[in-house]
């Protein structure tokens, strides 16, 4: 297993190099200018050119690229044009709400989705099964921004139970109660994910519940609860783990719509702000970090298969 993991790490390097090259040149193909965005709508062409010169944007493209690669190799992701601070510092700042949001959303999704999917599978073709399927369909169909605004109206505006929006850092303030800012967005995100997981769990469980070993377990006198949870669910969970892995990775890259609706300054909004402002260093830094994150999470997902299914062995 250790050898397998080491080989997979090495295999990531070409991917990372490709991401570095593509991210650098791709953003520069997009029309638009960070200097113009920074100066605002009333700046003249001459002023924009003056600022471009000061920002080093008029250097030859290959010079800019080599300087960028040199900095990355030293662990420097550059300086944000929009926020005037190191990109790495910006990512750490924005990673906190995104990471917490992703984690809580997945917890919500699993806590709702898996029991719902198991129940739907066990009570197949009953009213409960149909009701859960309809609910799952609603969860997938309702746009996140609409759901978010609705639960904001109910729980924040009407009931005043939770803050409507915004975020305050838990790490820098030491106040764990600041997690309340992320509860409504987590439920918003998690609900949609729960619907997906519920449907996946149901179909996976239905397949597994047909298997001979499940019937054999029943024949041996294992109680139904044990058959479902210990034997069937474990075997049905491999596709669920795959989906959860990719979902979590995607959430770590930022849930733009939810972050926008709830004014959570996470990575998703940072991407949008950076693209709109043509903040090249920030866009490149995010693409690099997200690519690395996907690669690592992909690897961890594969490793989890081996834990769940002893028949899977990596060497």
């Amino acid at each position: 297993m250790a050898g397998y993991l080491a080989r997979r790490f090495l295999a990531m390097l070409p991917t990372i190099v490709i991401v570095l090259i593509v991210s650098f040149f791709l953003v520069r193909f997009i029309p638009g200018d960070p200097a113009a965005v920074m100066l605002g709508p009333d700046a003249s062409v001459d002023q924009i050119e003056q600022l471009r010169e000061a920002m080093g944007l008029k250097q030859a493209i290959h010079v800019q690229f080599l300087r960028y690669i040199g900095r990355v190799l030293q662990g420097d992701l550059g300086h944000s044009i929009l926020f005037h601070r190191p990109v790495a510092e910006l990512l750490v700042l924005r990673a906190e709400p995104t990471a917490i949001l992703a984690f809580l959303s997945v917890v919500v999704a699993l806590c709702i989705g898996i029991p719902a999917g198991v129940l739907a599978a066990v009570k197949r073709n009953t009213f409960l099964d149909q009701a859960l399927l309809v609910l799952a369909l609603a969860g997938i169909s309702v746009p996140a921004f609409l759901l978010g605004l609705l639960i904001m109206l109910v729980f924040a505006v009407q009931l005043h139970w939770l803050p409507s929006s915004g975020f305050r850092s838990i790490l820098s303030s030491g106040n764990i109660w600041n997690i309340r800012y992320l509860l409504l967005p987590s439920v918003t995100l998690g609900f949609g994910q729960a619907a997906l997981i519920a449907r996946l769990t149901r179909s996976s469980m239905l397949e597994v519940l047909q298997e001979d070993y499940v019937n054999a377990a029943r024949a041996r006198g294992v109680v139904e609860r044990g058959v479902v949870l210990k034997h069937a669910l474990r075997n049905a969970s491999i596709p669920i783990v795959t989906v959860v892995g990719f979902t979590f990775a995607g959430l770590l890259a930022g849930a733009v719509v939810t972050e926008t609706v709830f004014a959570v300054g996470g990575v998703g909004r940072l991407v949008v702000e950076a693209v709109l402002a043509r903040d090249y260093p920030t866009i490149q830094g995010i693409m690099l970090v997200v690519a690395c994150m996907y690669l690592i999470l992909n690897l961890l997902t594969d490793a989890t298969y081996a834990l769940l299914d002893p028949r899977i062995q990596y060497s």
Partner: protein, 522 residues
């Protein structure tokens, strides 16, 4: 009987009077945090080189200018004690107020002002308007509070330009201004003389200003941005909330106290809500449609006149501003000292048949007209889509090109890429700040007649004389200019009536960049 009752129980009477008075007079009190929901983080607070309104809204609490605008949009001194023009108008001497402190405790003197003005003239967005007319800026050899500016000719817009912090000459520390170039100054250099000082900025979460306890306020009754400034509130927290519905929900939920720039179609519901004060920022802003006078179809004056003739501005304004608009073809609103209806007989003709006839007369044969519009700002997008629809129905062949703002800014700088583009314009205190009068602004209106009138307007002193020239200039804009104005629209902000005092309409006229000195938390 009443008299005897009062004699017998004076303390009860006093108590009753005290309760009555406290109910009538709203107590201004120190303390609290004002949470302002903005559209997003400002790009930075180096106000000299940015024209985004959220930067001005926040930065004006930190940085002062030499003049400010009063409630009639007339310039009055802020950092100045006095100033005087020579007889020929080319030499202006200034005396600063004494004892004004920067947030680091240093006293403001002429060195700070001169360095700031020099940096602004070279790199400031609005500095380019004044720079060609300035010969030199001189410090007094004997008095550190005095300085003077030498102009090549009388420069009438000086006070208005000095009063406008949006891309304007905010006063920085000398050591900051002297090394500042085209790039924004660092956060550590956000040291001004304003009633609030910069404390902290966590992008994506908040920008925090705290009261400057040693602030030296100007005297006099509060009028517009001028007069007495009391920093009652301890802390101002500007929180980026990109979604407008969330800003409204946040004020209603009690998470924010003030929200900026809301969709105008929410106005009737918000106005009916007793817990919310609505603020219509005045003077109004307006949308513009520019033509390319350098290359392409729109070099043809008659064709551009046809475009204007085809447009019905009322539905355009409704789509952009809801009910918060006025049909006004003048570049300044009624009530402004610069308001004139010169040329506006050509405004809002709304005659597509006549427009098409004029277009054919101009030689138009259905060629594609490229119309570039931004999707980033809803005013731009709403205006552009309705204009494109009206022109298409009139018979023009419109290629509506939708891009984000950064792309529009790049495209509009290239005369090969567009025929029309749309942009917004905020209110300005002086006609010299109208962007279409700048020959380098895309559209590139640069005729001999226009240049002569602008020069005359800039060097003419005396308001009546300037106004007469301004009327000619506005009429010329309608005759040959590069821009069509759609009409006036009002920005909508809201505040919590329950939590915030001092910024309802009676206390403070709503201004384009809302400020929070003289406001208090209830």
């Amino acid at each position: 009987m009443l008299r005897s009752w009062i004699h017998r129980s004076p303390w009860v009477v006093a108590l009753i009077l005290l309760v009555a008075i406290s109910g009538v007079v709203e107590a201004q009190q120190y303390g609290g945090t004002l949470r302002v929901a903005t559209e997003g983080d400002p790009v930075h607070l180096d106000l000299m080189i940015v024209t985004a309104s959220n930067a001005s809204t926040i930065g004006q609490h930190v940085f002062d200018t030499l003049f400010v605008l009063d409630e009639n949009s007339a310039p009055i001194p802020l950092l100045l004690e006095s100033y005087e023009r020579s007889e020929d108008g080319t030499y202006v001497s200034f005396t600063l107020r004494q004892g004004v402190l920067f947030h680091n405790g240093e006293e403001l003197d002429a060195g700070d002002v001169i360095a700031s003005l020099r940096r602004w003239l070279e790199y400031g967005v609005r500095g380019q308007v004044m720079a060609p007319h300035v010969v030199d800026i001189l410090a007094s050899a004997t008095d550190k509070y005095k300085f003077s500016i030498v102009f090549s000719a009388p420069f009438a817009p000086m006070e208005n330009l000095f009063a406008w912090n949006n891309g304007g000459p905010c006063i920085y520390l000398q050591e900051v201004a002297e090394v500042a170039g085209a790039e924004p100054i660092a956060e550590a250099d956000y040291i001004g003389t304003g009633p609030y000082k910069f404390a902290e900025w966590v992008p994506g979460q908040y920008l925090r200003l705290v009261r400057f306890d040693d602030y030296q306020s100007p005297r006099g009754a509060s009028t517009g941005y001028g007069g007495q400034r009391n920093a009652f509130i301890d802390e101002l927290l500007f929180i980026p909330v990109p979604e407008a519905a969330t800003r409204v929900a946040g004020v209603r939920a009690g998470d924010y106290d003030y929200a900026i720039r809301l969709p105008q179609d929410l106005y009737p519901d918000l106005q009916a809500n007793l817990a919310i004060n609505t603020h219509l920022l005045t003077p109004p802003s307006f949308m513009q449609i520019f033509r390319n006078t350098k290359k392409g179809l729109m070099v043809n004056d008659k064709l551009f006149q046809a475009i204007r003739m085809a447009l019905d501005f009322e539905p355009i304004l409704q789509s952009t501003y809801g009910t918060l608009y006025e049909l006004n073809g003048a570049l300044f609103p009624p009530g402004s000292i610069w308001y004139s209806d010169a040329g506006t007989e050509l405004y809002n003709r709304a005659d597509p048949e006549a427009a098409m006839a004029l277009a054919r007369e101009a030689g138009y044969n259905g060629e594609t007209i490229r119309y570039v519009v931004s999707t980033t700002y809803h005013e731009h997008y709403n205006t552009g889509t309705v204009v494109a629809d009206q022109l298409t129905r009139a018979g023009f062949n419109i290629d509506l090109q939708l891009y984000d703002w950064a792309t529009v800014v790049q495209y509009r700088a290239n005369p090969d890429l567009w025929d029309l583009f749309s942009s917004g314009h905020g209110p300005v205190p002086d006609p010299t700040l109208i962007t279409c009068l700048n020959p380098n602004y895309p559209g590139w209106w640069d005729t001999a007649r226009k240049t002569a009138l602008v020069d005359e307007f800039t060097t003419t002193t005396g308001f009546d004389e300037r106004y007469a020239v301004w009327e000619d200039l506005q009429a010329l804009l309608y005759e040959e200019g590069s821009m069509i104005k759609t009409g006036d629209g009002y920005i909508l902000n809201i505040s919590s009536a329950e939590r915030v005092g001092g910024i309802d309409v009676e206390h403070q006229p709503a201004l384009l960049f809302p400020y929070f000195w003289n406001a208090w938390m209830k």
